[in-house]
């Protein structure tokens, strides 16, 4: 995270755009991992969460 913040030395709007893109990318990655990742071990670990949160499951 520290390296990310150092990159943001531009204007306020650049900082905002960077934060938005990073959060969106990271957020989509986490949601994909919890809800969609096809790896069997991940599916089995997140199984009850996927059903409860209505992610399409198996």
């Amino acid at each position: 995270m520290t390296t990310n913040t150092l990159v943001l030395t531009g204007t306020r709007s650049n900082e905002r755009l960077g934060a938005v893109l990073m959060a969106a990318f990271l957020g989509l990655g986490l949601v994909f991992m919890a809800g969609f990742a096809p790896a069997m071990a991940l599916h089995n670990a997140a199984h009850d969460f996927r059903h409860a949160q209505n992610f399409p499951c198996h």
Binding site: M40, N44, A45, F49, R50, H51, N54, H58
Partner: protein
């Protein structure tokens, strides 16, 4: 700003996961485990009550299985993760506490992910995060990823027959994205053209239609499925509401405690 956003998302995701995990373990997990017993044929005696006379439990349970690729008694234990028919038992959490722990962990990962997306949406739309704006965006999030997909693909218990996974995942993602964009056009853009376009986006996935669920008989009592669908949506709403409220609260507490980080 980046650190502030991630910190607030971690706090919000954690708090929402604590609440949602409790609700899931109390309300949906028992139904999932009960459904797995029907799916694996363990609960044949009660299941017989729901079947037409003369049909053996196995004759109805087998077709349900044939459309899926489950293995083992515990439904989570698929054994055919390897392409080409090679059977290798896949890892799965053990029953009881390990399973609950992994459900909690998955809820945490999902909660932080949703909180990051909520934060990104708030900042991208130029809204100052607060519990109020957080809750508004959280309701939009609930509509986009929980309610709209559930209209076409109702929350399912293990063992309920369904269309192929890839088709359902594709429709789910398209519906969530179209609903989110539609809500953005209607609630944020607000011009008449934007509202018209937003309405089209809201309705289009449902006109296109979700992948059709085949209507194979299932040994699962329908009451379980109905109860599960209602509870699932209720939990999703609470999950999102806590994410939104907590994100707005945490954003402001993080900002107050360390104002320097927001300008880092």
């Amino acid at each position: 700003m980046m650190i502030r956003l991630v910190s607030a998302a971690l706090v919000a995701g954690f708090l929402a996961a604590v609440v949602a995990t409790g609700l899931q373990l109390a309300l949906t997990s028992p139904l999932i485990i009960a459904a797995e017993r029907y799916e694996s044929g363990e609960a044949t005696a009660p299941a017989a009550l729901w079947m037409p006379r003369g049909a053996s439990p196995a004759s109805l349970i087998v077709p349900v299985h044939s459309g899926h690729d489950h293995g083992g008694k515990d439904h989570g234990g698929k054994t055919d993760g390897v392409e080409g028919g090679e059977v290798a038992p896949a890892w799965q959490p053990g029953p009881g506490l390990p399973r609950m722990v992994f459900t909690a962990l998955a809820t945490l990962v999902g909660g932080v992910g949703y909180a990051l997306l909520l934060g990104a949406a708030l900042i991208a739309c130029g809204r100052e995060p607060s519990p109020e704006t957080g809750l508004r965006f959280a309701i939009a999030g609930f509509l986009a990823v929980a309610l709209a997909p559930a209209l076409g693909l109702p929350p399912e218990l293990p063992g309920m027959e369904a269309a192929p996974l890839a088709e359902r995942q594709f429709w789910w993602i398209m519906t969530a994205a179209a609903t989110a964009m539609g809500l953005y056009l209607i609630a944020i853009r607000r011009s008449s053209i934007a509202i018209a376009g937003g309405l089209v986006l809201l309705v289009a996935p449902h006109l296109a239609g979700a992948p059709e669920t085949s209507h194979t008989a299932s040994a699962l009592p329908p009451g379980y499925a109905a109860q599960f669908a209602a509870r699932s949506l209720g939990i999703a709403f609470v999950f999102w509401a806590v994410i939104g409220l907590a994100f707005g609260w945490a954003w402001n507490s993080v900002g107050r405690k360390s104002p320097a980080t927001s300008h880092a």
